[in-house]
């Protein structure tokens, strides 16, 4: 891993966006854009990331951005990539679709699946803050078990989140990775790798983005929350290149249950989980155990 001092100093998203104080998504955006660099076209469907792009001609972005309809992150990116190819310019630009969890897991899933199947040439980032935050914290199929949202306001979400990573894996992608807003170096390197794998179809990275108003914690704790998600073993960091999984250095030790912090460290500081009782916490613990079991199985198969 490169030293933090060696990362590009140039910023592609300038201070003064319209995002909330302490927004985990903005942190991830900033580091991802550093990795993608100047020759990037980013397309963003309706989500908090559109708000980030400013209003009325003010824009904090230093790269061209195309704002698009909620369910068209992937299909707009397909069009952008197609146009570059038609003009023989596909090697000169990186097309990046930057999409929320709602735009990925729910309304945009069909277009994403189709683009992945066709092997259209772009990087797809799912900036997963675990609900429809832009429209006021409604449930998405990425919202985790038990989470209170404005459409699961009393009982909390009764279902565990959709296994989107497995769905994307089933498309046989050249590159897939998970990342967290709290691990910028890891995130940077994954974005860089996805960029370098130009011409190899859709490269998919899902970034867990902590959200102070949506999750219900103080703005000073965004990095802490995104970090705890990894340290409790809830959000494993890995990448899968041509189907081969490797744990990322930043989080590899959490394969050992002994090294993990208790999941309550992640859950209790968040208002959305305040109502959870012990039986719900067991659901979380089982979920985490299951996630790692699958990873372990995959690692074993890879090493055989």
């Amino acid at each position: 891993m490169v030293k933090i001092s060696e990362y590009p100093e140039e910023e592609f998203i300038l201070p003064g966006t319209r995002l909330c104080a302490g927004c985990g998504l903005q942190l991830a955006y900033r580091w991802a854009l550093k990795a993608f660099g100047h020759d990037t076209i980013v397309t963003l469907p309706a989500s908090c990331s559109v708000v980030a792009g400013g209003v009325g001609g003010y824009s904090p972005l230093k790269i061209p951005a195309v704002y698009d309809c909620f369910e068209t992150g992937a299909s707009t990116a397909s069009g952008l990539a197609g146009a570059l190819k038609a003009k023989g310019r596909e090697k000169t630009k990186t097309v990046v679709a930057w999409v929320g969890d709602g735009g990925t897991y729910d309304i945009g899933l069909q277009a994403l699946s189709a683009a992945a199947e066709r092997g259209d040439d772009f990087v797809y980032i799912c900036a997963n803050n675990q609900a429809y935050m832009n429209t006021g914290i409604q449930r998405s199929s990425a919202s985790p078990y038990g989470a209170r949202t404005t459409t699961t306001p009393i009982l909390g979400k009764k279902e565990i989140s959709k296994n989107m990573l497995k769905i994307m894996d089933a498309h046989g992608l050249s590159y897939m990775a998970t990342a967290s807003a709290a691990y910028p170096q890891d995130l940077f390197e994954k974005c860089q790798k996805a960029k370098e794998m130009q011409g190899q179809g859709v490269r998919y990275i899902e970034i867990l983005c902590s959200c102070p108003p949506g999750w219900g914690y103080g703005v000073e704790n965004s990095v802490k929350m995104a970090r705890l998600a990894v340290e409790t073993g809830y959000w494993p960091l890995w990448e899968r290149i041509h189907g081969r999984i490797t744990l990322s250095k930043a989080g590899s030790k959490f394969i050992d249950p002994e090294k993990r912090k208790p999941i309550t460290d992640f859950l209790t500081p968040q208002v959305r989980f305040k109502h959870l009782k012990q039986d719900a916490i067991s659901v979380w613990e089982n979920y985490i155990a299951g996630v790692w079991k699958e990873i372990q199985k995959e690692l074993d198969e890879t090493n055989q």
């Binding site: 951005a65 069009g79 952008l80 146009a83 277009a111």
Partner: protein, 422 residues
């Protein structure tokens, strides 16, 4: 080399797409449009369209989204659809026009479900009215080919920068073979040079964003004020107004270059010089009305026809000029603004309202869901309109006449049918 082929309307659209050297096609099949997609796929796979990227999307929604994305990167784009597919595109059609992207979209018109149907009427096309697209209708396969080429010229004109529909009747044109002159690529390129767009996110490193959030009011900034949403939309309305001159110009230029034209590019007329009754219709309805005009004339009724080619922008001035010459106009709509009446009819009424010599306008609904429109039906309706012209009780009654309903043979009254529906 120019060549004359005997092809369907769908193939005429596909050939036009090839002649226009479109950069990106993204399309999804639906009856009766499917052969457009198939033919373009064949052109691309066989190497006959070497510069074109064909994105074989999973839905019409993605088709139009991909066209929008590609157009934002400076590409000339094409797609086509019908009925339910077109309805699925709606969000992106509005987006395309709002972003002022000069896409061309063909519509092989088809009635909208429910109930399921694949046959033609104009409901799908007409329902796209307020997307911001310009909109041409066609009556022959040659006209489809020519209109697509003209549509790109019009859409890409810097005075316009708006997308355009080219609509033709499903089956009646989409699946019917006619001779079509396919023009020499050099000559087409001369008429339609490569797109010089106003937006190319791939080229402009410092272009900050396309289609970002715009507040209601203008934003005052030291670097220069930026428009509010309403100013952008006013510009879009103005572009529609400017487009009329451009359309006439392009129609004239097309005639010089290729020897064909479609009236004044706004409408075509048939036997109107001495007419004292004018029929008004579009597409297949207009074609059928030509025969009705001949029939009526053989019976001594001086009828004529205005076939509207340009539905949007609505050519109010042209229509006023032509329709104030006669005391009676009969409008046949193959569409309904449900809860009101035929769209062409009420739009014409609105256009003529301020005129001194506005005619009586009689409106009929015909041929929904592919029901045949016999010439007799049209002539009878015209004669009825003549008879009832001065009957104010008929004129004041806000009913909509559906022609050729077969309720008697069905053995049901409309009240019975209502009960069945419940």
């Amino acid at each position: 080399m120019p060549e004359k082929l005997v092809i369907t309307g769908n193939f005429a659209a596909a050939y036009a797409c090839k002649s226009a050297n479109v950069d990106v096609v993204a399309a999804y099949p639906i009856t009766p449009q499917s052969p457009v997609v198939e033919k373009i796929s064949e052109f691309v796979e066989s190497g006959e369209m070497p510069d074109t990227q064909f994105i074989c999307v999973e839905s019409e929604h993605s088709a139009m989204a991909a066209c929008v994305g590609a157009a934002e990167a400076g590409a000339r784009v094409f797609t086509a659809s019908s009925a339910n597919g077109l309805a699925l595109m709606f969000e992106l059609l509005c987006w395309c026009a709002g972003a002022r992207l000069p896409a061309v979209v063909c519509i092989a018109s088809r009635a909208l479900g429910a109930p399921w149907t694949v046959w033609t009427d104009h409901q799908d096309a007409i329902s796209m009215r307020d997307t911001g697209f310009m909109h041409q209708f066609c009556e022959t396969n040659q006209e489809i080919y020519d209109s697509v080429l003209m549509a790109y010229r019009i859409a890409e004109d810097p005075r316009v920068f708006l997308p355009m529909f080219v609509t033709y009747d499903g089956y009646l044109l989409s699946h019917t073979m006619m001779p079509v002159q396919i023009e020499d690529p050099e000559k087409v390129r001369d008429f339609l040079p490569p797109l010089k767009t106003h937006v190319d996110v791939g080229e402009l490193g410092e272009t900050r964003s396309v289609s970002a959030v715009i507040p209601p009011d203008i934003t005052v900034r030291p670097e220069g004020n930026t428009p509010g949403y309403m100013e952008y939309r006013y510009a879009m309305q103005k572009a529609h107004e400017y487009a009329i001159d451009v359309i006439e110009e392009v129609n004239r230029e097309f005639k010089v270059k290729f020897g064909r034209s479609y009236g004044n590019g706004i409408y075509t007329s048939y036997k109107i010089e001495d007419a004292d009754i004018l029929i008004f219709g579009i597409g297949s309805v207009a074609s059928q009305s030509r025969m009705a005009v001949d029939q009526l004339r053989s019976e001594g009724i001086k009828a004529g026809l205005i076939s509207l080619k340009l539905f949007r922008p609505f050519p109010v001035k042209h229509l006023r000029e032509i329709f104030t010459r006669v005391p009676l106009v009969v409008v046949f709509d193959r569409d309904v603004a449900y809860g009101y009446e035929g769209v062409l009819a009420y739009e014409l009424k609105a256009a003529l309202y301020p005129c001194q010599n506005r005619p009586i306008i009689r409106s009929y609904i015909v041929g929904l869901g592919g029901r045949n429109i016999p010439t007799d039906t049209l002539t009878k309706a015209v004669k009825r309109a003549i008879k009832e012209k001065d009957d104010s009780s008929v004129q004041l009654d806000p009913h909509t006449d559906f022609l050729d309903l077969d309720l008697d043979r069905l053995g049901l009254s409309i009240e019975d049918m209502q009960k069945e529906a419940q």
